[in-house]
């Protein structure tokens, strides 16, 4: 089934994710998909969860950290400045930790705990995940296209929600136990029960869990969500998405399909080309295209040609949108 047929077979599709190895053109393909929906009258936003922000380069407009920006009719984009979210996190965490230490009567300096809690590598992923969930929950768009970070980041991003959930369940449970003991032991029960209801640690943990649950529900909804894998017709990126697909499946995230980018059109041969360089390249590509079809049978949604110029600016992005719509099956 080509890209067009796939999209038409899922009228409820709203959340599209694009992943793949570094440098395969995820951003370009994601941008093309966003434009595809925008051209069909859907109010569409493309957002990057990539720490190296590339939307600005593809659209040739500096949108970094500027919030949601309109690029064209029905087409919006946002590049989150993660450092802001991380700073906000640190402040919140400090507040909670202090509150926790106060209620638990632990005479300890929270400084080192804060440092440990906020300088671990998952922190940025958590911030990105949060920004992403916020965008979804605000519900201001018809279609959301996420240009995800390279595989390792996305994997941690996906894994995070599971770990988050375990950690939150644990936190909520121990907090409830502690608070109920406190209520039992106190003389003025009513006042303490009131206090417990306002407990900041418990409140924020419950709130966070509600949000991750909502996000998880959306991410695993087969009608609303699809994860696309972008590859080049080369061995390494193919191997990467092969692994990637099994991970995404393990998290119950619906697989949308594979998009092959940077395809040398075989029409190059028809131009009576005798260039051995081109012939070798095409022969190599043919082998990899066969591998792709063997490894991901009936999952290829589109072949995007290698263009004469780099995909930069709306005109080129529209070309990619057309290529997605066309499927490019005649290129190979």
């Amino acid at each position: 089934m080509n890209f067009n047929d796939f999209i038409e077979s899922k009228p409820g599709l709203r959340y599209l994710f694009f992943g793949g190895k570094c440098g395969v053109g995820k951003t370009v393909v994601a941008a093309g998909a966003a434009q595809y929906f925008a051209e069909r009258g859907k109010k569409t936003i493309i957002s990057s969860t990539n720490p190296v922000h590339s939307l600005s380069s593809v659209f040739k407009v500096d949108i970094w950290g500027k919030g949601v920006q309109k690029l064209a009719d029905n087409l919006y984009a946002v590049e989150f400045d993660i450092s802001k979210t991380v700073e906000k996190y640190k402040a919140e965490m400090k507040e909670k930790l202090l509150a926790f230490i106060k209620t638990a009567d632990i005479p300890v300096d929270p400084g080192p705990f804060l440092d440990i809690a906020t300088t671990n590598p998952a922190f940025e992923e958590a911030a990105m995940f949060d920004d992403m969930v916020n965008l979804i929950i605000k519900n201001e768009f018809d279609v959301y296209v996420f240009d995800t970070a390279p595989v390792a980041h996305t994997y941690r991003l996906l894994g995070l929600s599971k770990v988050y959930d375990l950690w939150l369940t644990r936190l909520i449970k121990s907090r409830e136990e502690a608070l109920s003991l406190k209520a039992k032991l106190s003389f003025r029960k009513e006042k303490v029960v009131e206090e417990i209801k306002r407990d900041p640690v418990l409140q924020s943990a419950l709130e966070t869990r509600k949000r991750t649950e909502e996000a998880k529900k959306i991410l695993t909804d087969n009608e609303k969500t699809a994860f696309f894998f972008v590859t080049l017709p080369l061995a390494l990126p193919i191997a990467v998405i092969e692994r990637f697909i099994t991970w995404v499946k393990a998290f119950d995230i619906p697989v949308g399909g594979v998009v092959v980018n940077g395809v040398l059109p075989k029409t190059l041969l028809k131009d009576a080309v005798t260039s051995s360089y081109v012939i070798n390249k095409l022969r190599e590509q043919e082998g990899y295209l066969r591998t792709i079809n063997e490894k991901f049978p009936s999952l290829v949604r589109a072949y995007i040609p290698l263009y004469e110029t780099e995909v930069i600016g709306l005109d080129m992005v529209s070309k990619v949108a057309n290529a997605l719509a066309d499927g490019g099956f005649n290129l190979v």
């Binding site: 951003t27 190296v52 190059l268 190599e284 290698l306 004469e308």
Partner: protein, 93 residues
């Protein structure tokens, strides 16, 4: 885009005081292809586009550029191809 990313990375490394040894440019089309009459227009245009990027790279990174690896006519896999790259980069025997 890769040029921008490299620039960002270099600045980040500098901030952390990590020494930078240099820049290696990968997947550079051999310029001989431009003189080869059998090279299709399509590829020639890509090479010309790349040459403007190379100019930018030279401007930005200058003597930090330690090596240039050509876009070989197939993906470098296996010891033989890796050896080819090694000799291009490090001038093996």
């Amino acid at each position: 885009m890769a040029i921008l990313d490299t620039q960002k990375a270099i600045n980040m490394f500098k901030e952390f005081g990590i020494p930078i040894s240099g820049v290696i440019v990968n997947q550079v089309y051999p310029t001989e292809l431009l003189n080869d009459p059998s090279t299709p227009e399509f590829l020639k245009n890509r090479i010309l586009m790349q040459q403007t990027h190379m100019k930018k790279i030279r401007e930005l990174f200058g003597d930090m550029i330690l090596g240039i690896v050509p876009m070989l006519d197939r993906e470098p896999r296996g010891l033989e191809m890796i050896g080819k790259i090694a000799s291009i980069l490090y001038g093996g025997d």
